[in-house]
Symmetry: C2
DNA sequence: TATTGTTATACTCTATAACTATA
DNA sequence: TATAGTTATAGAGTATAACAATA
């Protein structure tokens, strides 16, 4: 029998990726896609993107966080953030509270529902993290994080 | 003197990122963004995205590569690939050659200009890779690649 | 004048569905 | 009928520029 590649996996395996295979930049991209996909499709996924959960975490841990500061924190433009916050507001997870000190600013807060959702999401994140690194030992996982810190 | 945060770096440093800081998924995203930005803005950047260079590499190393197979290889839909290939064609880097065997298929080929561009881009990739991993030892870099392979 | 949040706009990346030409 | 490539379309993510309210 001749080798007849049928599945996408077969085809991909037969392709020559040349120098891409062991390039940090390329491996980062593949790993990041795998992490994102895994997060979004896992058992009991929270129905939020990793970025949205990140926003909830920052709001939770930084009292009176403003949109401008949050936009610096997550590295996106303040205009980009508006739609994200709109969506979280519509879902009843956060509120924008006009600052009494400087009425140009919004102070971002979690609603009770937002707190509950974040709590559940944090549990999910732990399970997802274990899943993502299931082929790594605890030492390897720590090493990976340390090395990624040196790049990011 | 009070600590008065002025720069974005100051503000970001004072933010509490909670569990995000040591999450593999989050660190992957930050590292990937750093890699992409570094690639695009580095000295002598080729004016191509990492993805576009990846396409050139695959075309170069896989004779008579078809669009369908390439789309499996890089993990995007065949319809998504069309615009990418259009752009590379407009820039004179690749050609679509109708297959004589199966006239539905295009065989993708680098033009001489595409070969030259890829050759230069490969040199740039090496420099960028060194730059990206400048805070890592050779051993650490190898370890990182190995660990990323286990995730992607 | 400068800053905060918003809107208008545009560009990229992505996919799904329908189309064409071939098989 | 099925496949390869294309087009039409839509949604998410991103940024820049201009605006209103406020400082």
């Amino acid at each position: 029998m001749a080798k007849t590649p049928n599945s996408i996996q077969d085809i991909t395996r037969e392709l020559d990726f040349g120098p891409l295979t062991d390039l940090v930049g390329y491996r980062l991209r593949k790993a990041q896609i795998a992490a994102y996909q895994g997060f979004m499709t896992g058992q009991d996924a929270p129905g939020l993107t990793p970025g949205q959960v990140g926003v909830l975490i920052l709001i939770d841990r930084n009292p009176a966080l403003t949109q401008q500061t949050l936009s610096y924190g997550i590295g996106v433009d303040k205009s980009t953030l508006v739609a994200t916050l709109d969506r979280l507001t519509e879902r009843g997870l956060i509120r924008r509270v006009r600052s009494a000190v400087d009425r140009r600013q919004n102070e971002l807060r979690l609603t009770p529902k937002g707190k509950k959702t974040l709590h559940d999401a944090l549990g999910y994140i732990d399970r997802h993290e274990m899943n993502l690194t299931s082929r790594l030992s605890a030492d390897e996982r720590e090493t990976l994080i340390t090395l990624l810190h040196k790049i990011g």
